[in-house]
């Protein structure tokens, strides 16, 4: 079939079952938008800033498990994507991004709105390319979706010069991909799987340290079976949350910097550490020498480069968590681990998460109430900061893909646009709640308009502490309380602001407000904005001080 490259691109997207694309138009993508004009199957979501576009595509991908797609024009459109691409790269989120580029003959001449976006995004994409040969479009797009969504997922960018987009080609969508330099390993080595089964049989104090890879691999069910079969407690990384039921007796909550003390102590005492799709991040390991000092380390990951990168591993195993757990399960022999499980129980009893309810409306209380209202049946999106950590600590995730948050990049401004994408991906009837901070939301607040335009019912809960709370906390501990540039001297009236967008808005100042108001807000049909006034001096605890091992936490007094 003969058509333009732009038309062929839309055809490719339809073949990849893309239902929603997020984007922002411009001169260099005129041909592409013109082609989209004719598509009846693809819904285009006009964001208000390209960063919002990538984050929305990211949120969409995290909730749906599908590839998120985003379009931006050349130059400033493309550079506005950069933060969002870095975010998706750090958290291994599958995205395919299309940028317009100046016409081929102008490339390299500092033409109007020309930037070398493939050069700029080289370190933050799984792969990228500049499409020079129009006849390669279909294969390039096919490869992009394949690369983005297989192995360790990640963002792929395709830069398309305007003249290439306008070129006419005969279109044929390839049925297979042929990439000789890219063959991710899924199946685990059988000998290694046997070895791991034996190690588990011998272990007295095994622990499962499960990360984002469990969600990427859709292995939550297998993880639950595995944990129960070997009677081992499970701790999640921040990215791994929602991969294991938060109310399960074997669950230890999150580990690491702001992890529970019992998870961190269990790691310190364990004799076998089973890492599943987790990358031993510095926020988790903290001090390498005191991380799981008595443990034999098993590390299962689809990315060989993650194994042995941070800590020495006794049994490395490359492959897909889900497949490997499936093969491992029948090899497991029942071992009595009541002693270890008793120890875990007493650690939990001895060091529960706690906060002072002395005065004011405490953020932790709001999260507890949020859990009471939803019982885990909601998608929770967060921004970055203290509120994000309180969500991690006090909300009990029940089902996979119900937490959407920026972990690796820790990117403020992610929340609101990601909630737009999440709401488009969530099942009808599933609540989408954004927990955000007064700093974060102001970084991408323009996306309220996108949310309203798309008719999405996101419930926005703003933790308003008039501060960049997380950094204020750092200054309290590490700068002897010299709070520099972390207290806002001015705020808009958030309630009026939300109303300006047509969003019903409320302000909560007391526990009563929350108890009375929150269920109502959550049950209301449309969007809502709740401005929660919380004490500025509240800290996220427990916390592992810089340089200390994870067992040396500062607790709530």
């Amino acid at each position: 079939m003969e058509m333009t490259v732009a038309e062929a691109l839309v055809e490719c997207l339809e073949r990849e079952n893309v239902e929603v694309v997020f984007g922002y138009p411009g001169g260099a993508v005129l041909p592409l938008y013109d082609a989209l004009y004719h598509s009846t199957r693809i819904r285009h979501v006009l964001v208000r800033h390209e960063q919002g576009g990538v984050h929305a595509a990211d949120g969409y991908a995290r909730v749906s498990g599908k590839v998120g797609v985003c379009i931006a024009t050349s130059g400033p459109g493309a550079t506005n994507l950069v933060t969002g691409i870095a975010n998706a790269y750090m958290d291994s989120v599958p995205l395919v991004l299309f940028t317009g580029q100046v016409p081929t003959i102008q490339i390299g001449t500092d033409a109007f709105q020309e930037v070398d976006i493939t050069g700029i995004t080289l370190p933050i994409t799984k792969h990228n390319c500049l499409l020079k040969d129009p006849s390669k479009l279909a294969i390039v797009v096919k490869n992009a979706f394949h690369i983005a969504s297989t192995g360790r997922p990640g963002p792929v960018l395709i830069d398309i010069p305007k003249d290439v987009a306008q070129a006419r080609i005969s279109f044929k969508y390839p049925s297979t991909v042929r990439l000789r330099g890219y063959k991710p390993t899924y199946k685990g080595h059988p000998a290694k799987i046997n070895e791991i089964a034996k190690l588990i049989g011998k272990a007295k104090r095994p622990i499962i340290y499960a990360g984002g890879g469990v969600l990427a691999s859709n292995a939550s069910e297998e993880l639950l079976k595995f944990a129960e079969a070997i009677s081992a407690p499970v701790t999640n990384t921040f990215m791994g949350l929602a991969g294991f039921p938060g109310d399960h007796p074997l669950f230890l909550g999150m580990l690491g910097l702001h992890g529970t003390r019992y998870a961190n102590l269990a790691i310190t005492e364990c004799d076998l550490l089973i890492g599943l799709g987790a990358r031993f991040d510095d926020r988790v390991v903290m001090n390498i020498t005191s991380f799981a000092p008595h443990a034999t380390v098993v590390h299962i990951d689809i990315d060989p480069a993650e194994i042995g990168k941070v800590i020495a591993t006794n049994v490395p195993l490359v492959g897909d968590v889900k497949l490997i757990l499936k093969e491992l399960l029948p090899l497991i022999e029942k071992v009595d681990r009541s002693e270890w499980l008793e120890r875990i129980k007493s650690l939990k009893a001895q060091y529960p998460l706690s906060y002072n309810r002395d005065s004011g409306l405490k953020p932790q209380f709001i999260i507890e109430q949020l859990w009471n209202c939803t019982k885990g049946d909601a998608v929770i999106v967060t921004d970055v900061g203290q509120h994000q950590m309180w969500v991690a600590q006090y909300y009990h995730f029940k089902k996979p893909r119900t937490l959407v948050s920026s972990g690796g990049l820790g990117c403020m401004g992610f929340g609101l646009p990601a909630s737009v994408g999440a709401a488009l991906a969530a099942h009808p009837g599933c609540k989408v709640v954004l927990v955000t901070g007064d700093g974060s939301i102001q970084m991408t607040i323009q996306e309220l308009a996108t949310m309203m335009e798309q008719g999405l019912s996101v419930k926005i809960i703003l933790f308003n502490n008039s501060a960049l709370g997380m950094v204020r906390q750092l200054q309290q501990y590490y700068c002897q309380g010299r709070h520099m540039a972390t207290h806002f001297q001015f705020h808009p009236d958030f309630e009026i602001l939300a109303k300006a967008y047509g969003i019903p808005a409320y302000t909560f100042r007391t526990e009563e407000d929350v108890i009375k108001g929150l269920p109502e807000v959550l049950e209301s049909p449309g969007p809502a904005f709740v401005n929660c006034i919380i004490p500025p001096e509240e800290n996220v605890l427990p916390m592992v001080p810089i340089g200390k091992g994870i067992s040396e936490t500062i607790e709530c007094e």
Binding site: C129, N143, G181
Partner: protein, 175 residues
Amino acid sequence: MEKHTLSVLVENSPGVLTRVAGLFARRGFNIDSLAVGRTDRDDVSRMTIVVEGDKPLIEQVTKQLHKLIDVIKISNITEDEYVDRELVMIKVAAEPSQRVEIMHIAGIFRARVVDLGSKTMTFECTGNEGKINAFEESLRPYGIKELVRTGKIAMLRGSKFVALSLAQAREAESA
């Protein structure tokens, strides 16, 4: 620290050198030398990369390189028997009275004169790193005006070789 020689087959696509060089720079790996050129196939180039580092570092380098879609195959040939060569061109100050002496040195290293100026001579010399270094040191006293080295290229000895697998060879060019 040990030096490792990696023989890397890559797609002959634009930007592949940038991808590899960028990876080394951003992960803090040091490239000792890098030589790149086409192989017997139009669509495949070979990079011979010499990296300095201990075992775990080289392992990371290799794994990270593998993550580049354009990298098809990596062989660390350091432990194998291999032949390696480098080409150097050296322009050395040479008064007419010194030329015989300099030619004599060149003879020892089997270097050839490729150009002659009124006050300079230019040599080309191939060999392994040690030989090239020795040649350079021998000419230094006369005054080296300019020196260009290609970086090392290497090939396994005997019947072993670093090449695409059959399947890879069949998988013709992709994007």
